[in-house]
C-alpha cells in the first residue's frame, strides 16, 4: 500500500521537478507564494478552475507569480487535484490540493505527499535539475491534473 502511494506521489514530484529550472533567480526559492511574488515586481494572481478558466500566460513574461489549479481528476484512489505556482515561466511550487479521501489514507497522503512535492520542486530548482531518473513509476490522476494546470499556466 505504501509503495503504491510512494509511487504515485513520487511521480508527481519527479514530473514537477522537470519544470524546476530557474536560472534567473540568484537566491534559493521559497515555496511560499508570497515570497516568490515578493521576489518579482508584481503581485500574486490566483486562477482557479483549470484549463477553461485560466488565460494562458506568455512563456517568459515578468516576474509576477500566479497560482493555477489543475482539473479534478478521478483516480482509482479518489479525486486528485494539483495546484502549481508559476513565476517567470517556471513552476516554483506544486501541491496536491485535493487528495483521495474516505479510504482512511487521506491523512497519510496529506501528511506525506504535500511536503514532499514542495520540497522536491524547490530542491530540484536549487540544483537546476532537468530530470530525475528512477525506478519506473506509473500514475494517472496526478499527471493529468498537473498537465491541466501546466496548460492553464501556458507552460
Amino acid at each position: 500500500m505504501r509503495k503504491i502511494l510512494l509511487a504515485f506521489m513520487t511521480t508527481l514530484a519527479a514530473v514537477v521537478s522537470l519544470f524546476g529550472y530557474r536560472t534567473s533567480t540568484p537566491h534559493p526559492v521559497s515555496v511560499a507564494t508570497s515570497t516568490v511574488a515578493a521576489a518579482g515586481s508584481g503581485g500574486t494572481t490566483t486562477t482557479d478552475g483549470g484549463t477553461t478558466a485560466a488565460t494562458p500566460a506568455a512563456p517568459s513574461t515578468g516576474a509576477a507569480s500566479s497560482t493555477v489549479t489543475g482539473d479534478v481528476v478521478q483516480t482509482r484512489w479518489g479525486p486528485v487535484q494539483v495546484r502549481i505556482t508559476v513565476a517567470s515561466g517556471k513552476v516554483t511550487a506544486a501541491s496536491a490540493v485535493q487528495v483521495p479521501s474516505g479510504n482512511g489514507r487521506d491523512a497519510e497522503i496529506n501528511g506525506y505527499a504535500v511536503p514532499v512535492l514542495d520540497q522536491e520542486t524547490v530542491s530540484a530548482q536549487s540544483a537546476s535539475i532537468d530530470a530525475v531518473s528512477g525506478a519506473t513509476v506509473t500514475s494517472d490522476g496526478y499527471v493529468t491534473s498537473l498537465q491541466s494546470a501546466l496548460d492553464a499556466a501556458g507552460l
Binding site: 509503495k3 510512494l6 509511487a7 513520487t10 511521480t11 514530484a13 519527479a14 514530473v15 521537478s17 522537470l18 519544470f19 529550472y21 536560472t23 534567473s24 533567480t25 540568484p26 518579482g40 515586481s41 512563456p59 517568459s60 515578468g62 516576474a63 517567470s88 515561466g89 514532499v116 520540497q119 522536491e120 530542491s123 530540484a124 540544483a127 537546476s128 535539475i129 532537468d130 530530470a131 530525475v132 531518473s133 528512477g134 525506478a135 519506473t136 513509476v137 506509473t138 500514475s139 494517472d140 499527471v143 493529468t144 498537473l146 498537465q147 501546466l150 507552460l155
Partner: protein
C-alpha cells in the same frame, strides 16, 4: 527586476504506455505551433506502439501472439523487430534480460515490455531530433533520453532509492540516455529469468547511462537482476556506464561515472 534572459522552454506531459511521459523542448522555437505538432506526433507514435505491444490489451498483437492466435511468422515488422532485439538483449545480458518472463508457477510468458518502452521512446524521439535549433529531453517513467547541442547539457539526477524525494548525484547529459531499474516504485515482483526465482536483495537500484535508451534500459534491468557482478558486464559494453546502489545505500560505478558519484 531581473535582467537574466532564459532560453524559452516548454514541457508537455502525457500518460501513455501506462507511464507519465514528459517532453521538454528548449530553444527559440519551443513555443512554435510546429514544435507542438512534432511533440503531439511523438505521443501519437507511442500510443500506436502501445496498441501493438500492450500486454493489458486483449487485442494487441503481443496478446494475440501469447494466446497462440497469431503465428510468429505473421507478426508485423515492428513486433518482429522487437522480438529480434529481445533475443539480442538476452545474449548481451547473459540471460538476465529475457522477454520470456518466468512466472510464479514456473511457466514462461512472452512479455517484451521491458524492452519496448525504451525502444518506442527512442524511435518516436526521431521526430524531436529533427527539430531545428532545439534541445529536447524525454522522461518516460524514470528513464531519460535527451539531446542538448545548443544550450547547456541537461542535468539528470539519479534518484536515491532509499528516499525517493532525494537524489544521489547529477549526471550531465549532452546526448543519450539514463535508465534506472529498481523496486522502489513497483514493489518486489521481479523474477530472475536465469533462475525463475525472485531477484536477490543485493541491489536497491541500477542506473545505466549510454547512447541508446533501448540498451541502457535493457542493461539497467539486467544489472538490477544480476547484482554487483553486472558492473563488469556494463563496463565491457562500449559506450555504457553503470551506477549500482547496494542495500546500505552505497554506490559503486564504472570508471566513467566515478567522478559523478556522491562522496561517501
Amino acid at each position: 527586476m531581473t535582467t537574466t534572459t532564459t532560453t524559452a522552454r516548454r514541457t508537455w506531459v502525457e500518460q501513455v504506455m501506462g507511464l507519465p511521459v514528459s517532453v521538454t523542448v528548449r530553444g527559440p522555437h519551443a513555443w512554435a505551433d510546429r514544435t507542438d505538432g512534432v511533440v503531439r506526433a511523438f505521443y501519437a507514435d507511442l500510443r500506436q506502439v502501445d496498441r501493438t505491444f500492450s500486454t493489458y490489451r486483449a487485442d494487441s498483437e503481443v496478446s494475440l501472439l501469447r494466446r497462440g492466435a497469431l503465428s510468429r511468422r505473421l507478426v508485423s515488422p515492428d513486433l518482429g523487430h522487437v522480438l529480434d532485439l529481445c533475443a539480442q538483449a538476452k545474449e548481451l545480458t547473459g540471460g538476465h534480460f529475457d522477454a520470456a518472463l518466468p512466472q510464479p508457477d514456473g511457466t514462461r510468458l512472452l512479455d517484451p515490455s521491458g524492452l519496448v518502452k525504451g525502444w518506442a521512446v527512442e524511435r518516436a524521439a526521431a521526430a524531436l531530433r529533427a527539430l531545428p535549433d532545439a534541445d529536447w529531453l524525454v522522461v518516460a517513467g524514470g528513464d531519460v533520453l535527451g539531446e542538448a547541442t545548443a544550450g547547456p547539457a541537461w542535468r539528470v539526477a539519479v534518484e536515491d532509492p532509499r528516499d525517493r524525494s532525494r537524489t544521489l548525484c547529477v549526471l550531465p547529459l549532452r546526448r543519450g540516455a539514463v535508465a534506472t531499474s529498481g523496486t522502489a516504485a513497483r514493489g518486489r515482483h521481479l523474477l530472475d529469468p536465469a533462475t525463475g526465482r525472485p531477484v536477490a536483495d543485493h541491489l536497491l537500484s541500477a542506473t545505466v547511462v549510454g547512447p541508446s535508451l533501448t540498451w541502457a534500459d535493457v542493461l539497467a534491468t539486467a544489472a538490477f537482476v544480476e547484482g554487483p557482478a553486472s558492473l563488469a558486464r556494463v563496463a565491457g559494453t562500449s559506450g555504457y556506464e553503470a551506477l549500482l546502489v547496494d542495500p546500505d545505500g552505497g554506490c559503486t560505478g564504472t570508471a566513467g561515472l566515478q567522478q559523478h558519484l556522491p562522496v561517501a
